[in-house]
């Protein structure tokens, strides 16, 4: 199973990826809670690709993989924007004082918490966020 989306940066286009995750997840027999958490992570990765990418569109790849006796749902979101250093991104604080900073910067934190394994490769012109979710044994 492999699904690829090449999406332009039009408003709410992340919902095309959300729909794809939903239907693939349903076909794989995943629970709606699992599907919804993968959807939220995918939506966040798409939003980053739209906001921080080069506005010339981005790609989403969804596939299943077997590795180490386990099956995984693997989602990659790729953009060709300026890139960033993922190590340098600090996690936002829920305890910030009112007005101290905008309530932003939660995307990567959500992606890492909702998925089992996340790997971000980024350099100027190419960012790939690779997210994996365990979906059972082989």
């Amino acid at each position: 199973m492999k699904l690829t989306l090449n999406l332009p940066a039009v408003p709410e286009v992340e919902l095309v990826a959300a729909k794809a995750v939903e239907l693939v997840g349903r076909d794989l027999g995943l629970s709606s809670t699992c599907i919804e958490s993968v959807t939220v992570a995918t939506v966040e990765a798409c939003l980053n690709a739209i906001e921080h990418g080069n506005q010339r569109g981005f790609a989403v790849r969804i596939e299943t993989q077997a590795a180490g006796g386990e099956r995984w749902l693997v989602i990659e979101v790729e953009d060709h924007g300026g890139g960033f250093d993922p190590e340098a991104v600090s996690a936002p604080s829920g305890n910030r004082k009112h007005g101290s900073a905008p309530n932003r910067g939660w995307g990567l934190k959500l992606i890492r918490d909702l998925m089992d394994d996340v790997d971000v490769q980024s350099r100027p012109g190419l960012t790939i966020v690779r997210m994996k979710r365990r979906i059972g044994g082989t």
């Binding site: 709410e12 919804e36 939220v40 305890n95 932003r104 939660w106 959500l110 909702l114």
Partner: protein, 123 residues
């Protein structure tokens, strides 16, 4: 087709509880629409707000961060914010983002309204 556009309805109930039912995608726009409805309920005298998310399955961090701002403004005025009918994923997102720390989360609308009305009376 527009199934994922946010559908909103609101009501100011006896006991000062403002109810907002939101079904759809809570993104930037959706979060802002909820914030606007809440501001109108506050103007009309609501002291506690209940957001019923039955029918909401997709949210994003920008939408939730707008709800966080609403929560902060409410807390400054000693108001209360509560949610009900959250999917496990939305509940988890609210926890990760710290919204669950200061807002109450109820399973269903009835329990939430009862409890909020009781608390308003106790004030």
């Amino acid at each position: 087709m527009n199934d994922q556009r946010l559908e909103l309805s609101s009501e100011l109930m006896a006991g000062g509880v403002g109810l907002v039912a939101a079904a759809g995608y809570i993104n930037n726009e959706g979060g802002q629409a909820i914030a606007d409805v809440i501001n109108r309920l506050l103007d009309r005298g609501a002291v506690a707000l209940l957001i019923d998310l039955e029918g909401t399955r997709i949210i994003n961090s920008i939408g939730v961060s707008i709800l966080l701002e609403v929560l902060e403004k409410l807390m400054e005025k000693n108001g209360r914010l509560a949610f009900c009918n959250l999917t496990p994923t939305i509940a988890r997102t609210f926890e990760i983002m710290g919204l669950a720390e200061y807002a109450s989360i109820f399973d269903d609308r009835e329990t939430a309204i009862e409890e909020l009305t009781r608390l308003n009376r106790a004030d």
